[in-house]
């Protein structure tokens, strides 16, 4: 049958967004980025998946880990945020969205294996990035996640400076994604970038051959 390993391997392997995700805040907004590869074992089952999922107009989350778990958490929080924003009569805060994600991640931490980074803009605190790994919630100037993130910790530690503007942040995200995608077998495809500020939410795709290259490519 499909799930018992007698068919092709990719039918019985769990589908993971082995991934690279990143979010960074600047004065006035946030930039989120992700790759687009979804793998089941050694097979790439989707090479163009957008892992930046909207939770509300100006709040997005970046998905990594088990694709099913991550998508389900995002859908549940999307619903809960809709209800919450109707109750309070205004746009929800980024911290509220991150708390809802954290609540699910923490309560079901034994069953789930997904990590979501929540980032967005709200009137009260401007651009914010929250990491929710394993059920904690912490606000950070930037966050990286997914299997590809290990390879770029050194790069982001070295390159991040306080006070970068929107264009610097977008370039930082694109460079980081490109480096991670070229080293991590589970990351690849195209790069999706979302920029959120007070005035707009802009989604962009950068195709593989338009990504920055480095000395050995």
């Amino acid at each position: 049958s499909m799930l018992d390993g007698t068919g092709p391997e990719w039918l019985s392997e769990e589908v993971k967004t082995g991934t690279t995700i990143i979010a960074i805040e600047y004065n006035g907004g946030v930039v989120l980025g992700s790759d687009s590869r979804v793998s089941a074992g050694a097979s790439v089952v989707n090479r163009v998946m957008n892992k930046l999922s909207p939770l509300h107009d100006k709040i997005y989350c970046a998905l990594s880990g088990s694709a099913a778990d991550a998508q389900t958490i995002a859908e549940m929080v999307n619903y809960q945020l809709d209800v919450h924003s109707m109750e309070i009569g205004e746009d929800p805060q980024v911290r509220s969205a991150a708390t809802l994600v954290k609540n699910i991640s923490y309560k079901y931490k034994e069953e789930l294996s997904a990590h979501l980074i929540v980032a967005g803009w709200d009137r009260r605190d401007g651009g914010q990035v929250f990491a929710t790994l394993k059920g904690l919630i912490t606000r950070q100037p930037f966050a990286v996640g997914g299997s590809g993130s290990s390879y770029v910790y050194g790069f982001v530690d070295a390159e991040y400076r306080r006070g970068m503007n929107k264009e610097d942040c977008q370039q930082f995200v694109v460079n980081t994604l490109s480096l991670a995608m070229s080293r991590d077998g589970s990351s690849g495809g195209v790069a999706y970038i979302v920029t959120i500020d007070e005035h707009s939410t802009e989604e962009k795709v950068i195709l593989g051959n338009d990504l920055p290259t480095f000395f050995d490519q």
């Binding site: 390879y151 910790y153 050194g154 790069f155 530690d157 980081t176 480096l179 991670a180 070229s182 000395f215």
Partner: protein
């Protein structure tokens, strides 16, 4: 690159480690951290030197099981000095790397160690070779190894340039080691660097408090 032992699959004392080597204009820099640990839980030495001299202008760095690495380098030193007496000329860097490769390949079932060899010879000038865990030998302009290397792939890909000056290369190597030591809990201590050029060999030691600091430190 060789496998990364972040889960103490190495029995006994391991150099959970960060090692690197890079070619610059006129020479090579080879360097490492200085921590030896047992299973990632106990630091058995804070100041071990993992940069071993195998001949006048050829050094190598080891990662993996400390016992295996010491046994292999001792054998390699012997083979090389015998070889250089027979040939009546200083050995080539590739000879040193090949000696290590032979030992690693022929004993691949028992050994758990990988090597970076760097040096200068009259035939090809400055060179860097890497011998991976199973015994593959490859020449590269820049290479990193050990458990801490995962975190600096992105940094090295982005920042290494061929034909750097000696100072630029030293700064690049020191930064890379500092970044890896900052993220890998089994790498740390001081940075040992050796600069090899036609003229000779220079040891540079950077104590922990003089290592470069990054935005969050």
């Amino acid at each position: 690159m060789e496998k990364h032992y972040t889960g103490s699959q190495v029995k006994g004392v391991s150099t959970g480690t960060t090692i690197l080597a890079a070619v610059f204009d006129g020479g090579v820099v080879i360097g490492s951290d200085s921590r030896a640990s047992i299973g990632g839980e106990y630091v058995s030495s804070k100041t071990i030197n993992k940069v071993i001299q195998v001949h006048d202008q050829i050094f190598c760095c080891m990662a993996g099981s400390l016992a295996d690495a010491q046994a292999v380098t001792k054998a390699a030193k012997f083979h090389l000095s015998f070889h250089s007496i027979q040939m009546e000329t200083p050995p080539l860097v590739i000879s040193a790397a090949s000696v290590l490769k032979d030992l690693c390949y022929k004993n691949k079932d028992e050994l758990q160690a990988g090597f970076i060899t760097a040096g200068w010879d009259r035939k090809k000038g400055p060179q860097v070779y890497v011998v991976a865990l199973g015994g593959m030998l490859v020449s590269q302009p820049v290479t990193i190894g050990g458990s801490g290397s995962t975190y600096i792939y992105g940094y090295v890909d982005a920042k290494y340039k061929p034909n750097m000056s000696r100072e630029e290369c030293l700064q690049f190597a020191t930064n890379a080691l500092a970044l890896a030591m900052g993220r890998d809990n089994v790498s740390g201590g001081i940075a040992h660097l050796v600069v090899i050029t036609e003229k000779g060999v220079e040891h540079v030691v950077v104590p922990g408090d003089k290592l470069p600091k990054f935005h969050d430190e």
